[in-house]
């Protein structure tokens, strides 16, 4: 961590990362835009809501995901600097998707992403089953159904049941239930 800058009003924008005034303005402007005319997750979702989207898992998207958690397992490499897109290699043949990657993308399907969404909700738990490997480049369908909405100790939670399947073959890749603490 960089130097900690904290005053009576709270921490400064650049307390964890060095920034110029230009960068501080970038951050404040972006964060402000996230909250404009948005709805909370709690208000956007009703029990029984079903939302579904498709995602083509490009080699570059896999690299972005894996680099973010410093996971350099070669099995996931369908893209390398200099050679760019490659078939890759894993015990299943070509490069595959990290096992929990689709779980991470579920959040983008749990609410209507075309509407402004208030930032600040927190993922609290998941129960996932990895049914089979996903080849890099596959197009998957992520289906999410809202199955629970409750208040516990004054906090608002939502539960979802999710399936991830291959769009072409219908193969089931992942099932999951998960809970989110709404802002």
């Amino acid at each position: 961590m960089t130097e900690n800058k904290l005053d009576a009003a709270g921490p400064a924008t650049d307390s964890l990362r060095p920034m110029t005034e230009l960068q501080r303005q970038q951050v404040r402007s972006f964060v402000t835009s996230l909250d404009e005319e948005s709805e909370t997750y709690w208000d956007m979702v009703e029990i029984g809501d079903v939302l579904q989207r498709t995602l083509t898992i490009s080699p570059e998207l896999v690299i972005l995901y894996a680099d973010g958690v410093e996971d350099f397992t070669p099995w996931y490499e369908g893209w390398k600097m200099n050679t760019w897109q490659i078939e890759g290699a894993s015990p299943f043949g070509a490069a595959i998707v990290p096992p929990m990657m689709m779980s991470h993308f579920i959040l983008s399907v749990m609410f209507d992403h075309t509407k402004p969404f208030a930032a600040g909700s927190i993922h609290t738990s998941h129960e996932s089953t990895i049914h089979g490997p996903i080849e890099v480049g596959a197009t998957v369908s992520i289906r999410s159904e809202a199955v629970g909405k409750f208040v516990k100790r004054g906090r608002r939670y939502l539960g979802h049941r999710v399936t991830v399947t291959d769009v072409e073959s219908g193969e089931l890749y992942l099932t999951e239930t998960r809970e989110i603490l709404s802002r």
Binding site: G68, T73, M100, S103, G120
Partner: protein, 160 residues
């Protein structure tokens, strides 16, 4: 009993295809873990926390009652999955269950370690079904994520 880490990684950095937890591994067997730092630059990346400033902006985090930006829980799950892939190899992609609860936040800058200990080894038709207690803690031993992983491992030379 735990794993010989020197054999866990093949030349080039890949996991052993079958992992190193064999079907006859005993209860109490410890997985080889990972250590990671919650780097705010990674927490803020577009495919991770960019859409939620609680994960990278100290001002927004403070306004929502957090002492510091916190990692997305899914980063912990990804760390646990990476550990399991190196320990169980391809078996982790064939019906494994991963249940995680994020019981405490991981703040920007914290260093965390993944752990896994086999709690149960059940003989099944094609091998062994392992139930593994997994968790992520910080350098003070404070648990951040706890969970249970279930993996079916087939003996060497046998087909599932």
């Amino acid at each position: 009993m735990d794993i010989d880490v020197a054999q866990l990684v093949l030349p080039g950095g890949a996991p052993h295809p079958d992992g190193l937890v064999k079907a006859d591994a005993p209860v109490g067997f410890q997985l080889a873990g990972l250590k990671k730092r919650a780097a705010v630059q990674l927490m803020a990346s577009r495919v991770w926390g960019r859409f939620n400033p609680n994960h990278w902006d100290p001002v927004f985090a403070h306004e929502t009652g957090l002492s510091a930006p916190i990692q997305t829980g899914e980063m912990s799950s990804a760390y646990i999955a990476e550990m399991c892939v190196y320990n169980f190899g391809r078996f982790f992609f064939a019906g494994a269950q991963v249940n995680c609860k994020y019981i405490s936040s991981i703040a920007a800058g914290e260093v965390v370690t993944t752990h896994g200990v086999i709690r149960e080894a059940l003989q099944i038709e094609h091998g062994t079904r392992f139930t593994v207690d997994v968790w992520v803690d910080n350098d003070s031993g404070d648990k951040k994520t706890v969970g249970v992983v279930t993996v079916d491992v087939t003996p060497e030379g046998a087909s599932k």
